[in-house]
Amino acid sequence: MSLDAILQTFFVEAQEHLESMENMLLKMDEGECDDEMLNDIFRSAHTIKGSAGIFGLDHIVNFTHVVENVLDRARDKEIEIDTDLINVIFKCRDHMQSLVGVTLDEFNAQADLQKIDNDLLTALAPWASTENIEAVKQTSTATESQPENKLTDDGGTDKLWHISLRLSTDCLKNGMDPLSFIKFLTSLGEIKHIETIIDNFPSLDNFDAETLYFAYEIALQSDASLEEIENTFMFVQDDSDITILPPSATIGDYLALIDKLPEENQRLGDILVKCGSLTRHTLEQALASPSTEKTVSEQAVTDQPDESPAEERKDPNATINAALTKQKQAKSQAPEGKQIRIDSSRLDHLINLIGELVINQQRIELLSKDSKNPQLIEAVDDFDNFTNQIRDAALSLRMVPIGGTFQRFKRLVRDTSQELGKEVELIIDGADTELDRLMVEKLGDPLTHIVRNAMDHGLESTEDRQAAGKNIKGQLKLSAYHEGGHIVIAISDDGNGINKVRIREKAIEKGIINNDSQLSDNELFHLIFHPGFSTAETVTNLSGRGVGMDVVKRNVEALQGSIDISSQTGLGSEFKIRLPLTLAIIDGFHVEAKGTHFIIPQATIIECIDLSNHQDIKGRHCINLRGDMIPYLNMSEIFNLAPSQKMKAADHMTRHTAKRELVIVQFGSDVAGIAVDRLNGEIQTVVKPLGPIFKALKGIGGSSLLGNGEIAFILDVPQLIELAIANEIANKVSCPESINSPDK
């Protein structure tokens, strides 16, 4: 691990702690407040401080220290937690986040950051203890100790820990300077004694400047908890041998330590005595009868009264030991859980490989069918089954619940509502709905825009709501659910709805539509996605600049998704984002038109019918399907397909038997048909993007390789319908309503 990689770990962990702090703060803000939450927040802040200390990120340490101190006072019920305090701590959390993002040098160079730093420290002052900084430090360290340790805490700050450091010899190569740990220990307490063991130091010929030859035995007088001390060594504990003996350690523990270490027992014993961790007397007794599992208390009784205070502290106390074990267990449970962190590029690589596997599997299937060997076909079928399972399992690795993304909006809603002076309640539904990680990442921005807009324009002011007889508290709902092979994310509010008249006026004013344009509601609502469109009377710093909604649409479309708006005046509006389940591998339906292969995503297909059995309605591209009028588009027309040479020859022979097939597809509430020449059946396909050159090509979302190596194009159904509409408008075909999808 290079230093960069370790720093990276620090950033990731700090980020997690900051997120957890935010979640806890949000809960507290909602009125739930218990000691456990405060403890959690405190722990997060504390861990960040501790880790930052190791890297010498003093700007983080200094600031966080004060925050931690305030939190600690709150924990000890010395100060009251109220909204003001929560607000300040929220800001502090944000500031910590910015601090984590910059190096010490950057911090020193950025006056604005320092100003925020100072402002927040001043803001915290009413809650911070009034004593001078040194005293603040004292309070903080004194109160940091865990309650269970207090049981034995008769001497106040006299607690003497023994730390045996056998750092990895590669420690220096990894960018870790043992001195920095020792230095950090001084922030937890006072180092009473350090013995450096230089036994391993080689002759100068063999000396390597980058190898650590030293070991340390340290006596630390500190009120810090075991966890805090352990955290100091978080970044090296994996390959080092670190033993931390708490003040409550029994002589047995020390003997175990002495036994474990490679150095000669007597010498180690001497060192421990020098450190003040053991008395000469105890040591001699213990070493003389190493098997005796004497606890220190028994020792203490026999010891002379002039023993160092260290002796008294080693009161054996079953409860303490139990508490310590418990603490350790709790610690080891928390971070490990049942999750592992994987570099996302490795996961993508796996998915790519499985994509190749799927293609090859199809080729084998094709070959096996040609061979007409029943045993082979059976074996390949089994293979097929497993390939599908592997595919699904691999894809599920990339799926993450949307809840994490939704959670972030709690904060946004809280801050925005304060800024706007509106009371808003955020309801989250379907947080465990899973979707592709790539999509989750790219959804953040569009959702933020929609939520902000809903709060700013959608929800009315408190007075207006009261006048309208509504609950003063506005409601904003984020929900996610599955619908027909898609995932729908809906953002709804119970505000005033979208003002259609206003949109219309604005659109005419901006020249987007003509004065006499007839638009359906849906078309009208979609005007808000037009770049530079905003109906807000005043531009606030939240929204109203007209940038954003067009970005929303573009982002959603980039994910092969679509967005629908519905709104009722006085009752509220709803934005529905519809997204495909995954982007990498899809179930498709293989069709052909004029020799070109296409794949229609299975999720959009309702049924397939034989077009020759149906008559077009009055010469339009519409058929009557069981009483419903279904518009359809001709694939070969819309893509201007000319039969290939090979097709021409084949076509010639089959001309008379050629029939036309119609695939009925549904997207959102729209139903349409796609006329093709041949249906080739279901196929699993790996989506291969067509690359930047073809970005402007509408209706085709990507390409895919067929079992025989040929290339098929994957249809993007909503875009295809949009294209058909655009073509009709361009051609001035006299049946504008023939495509029953006003907005697509």
Partner: protein, 158 residues
């Protein structure tokens, strides 16, 4: 330019000789059919399956303002790799014949004439002379810039 030799892959399209920096070329494959992409402008011949990778194929002849290439038995596809600022991009180029790899020293490369080459001057990296024949050395980054190709496609579709 420093006087050093660079290697160029030379090829022929409709009796004209072209050269391209060898570092940008990846491989040469036999033309074995192509899948046309609907609605594309003429300079995009289509896409091919290159061992599982879908690669766009450009008709360089059209791109340079000439007649479309005629496909015949010896037509081949030169696969090139561009490392533009945004991402790397793999493209196929149709050629009538691939000739050889030649070393050309920098001093033998002349600047593109301001006019007369019937090719946009910015596409030409220089002109080299070998065995009394002129070889047009193409600047692949400019001639085949994905960004520009995408713009052309967009224009065609509108």
């Amino acid at each position: 330019m420093v006087d050093k030799t660079s290697q160029f892959l030379t090829f022929t399209i409709a009796d004209e000789h072209f050269g391209m920096d060898l570092h940008q070329t990846r491989e040469i494959i036999e033309y074995a059919g192509i899948t046309q992409v609907p609605l594309m402008p003429q300079f995009i011949s289509g896409v091919i399956n290159l061992r599982g990778e879908v690669v766009p194929v450009i008709d360089l002849s059209v791109r340079l303002g000439r007649q479309p290439i005629t496909i015949h038995k010896r037509t081949c596809v030169i696969v090139i790799e561009l490392h533009s600022s945004e991402q790397h991009c793999v493209l196929g180029l149709l050629a009538d014949a691939v000739n050889e790899v030649i070393d050309i020293s920098a001093s033998d490369i002349e600047d593109a004439p301001a006019f007369g080459a019937k090719i946009r001057a910015e596409f030409i990296q220089g002109i080299a002379k070998k065995d009394d024949e002129f070889i047009v050395l193409l600047d692949a980054e400019k001639t085949l810039s994905p960004v520009e190709l995408a713009h052309l496609v967009e224009a065609e579709l509108q």
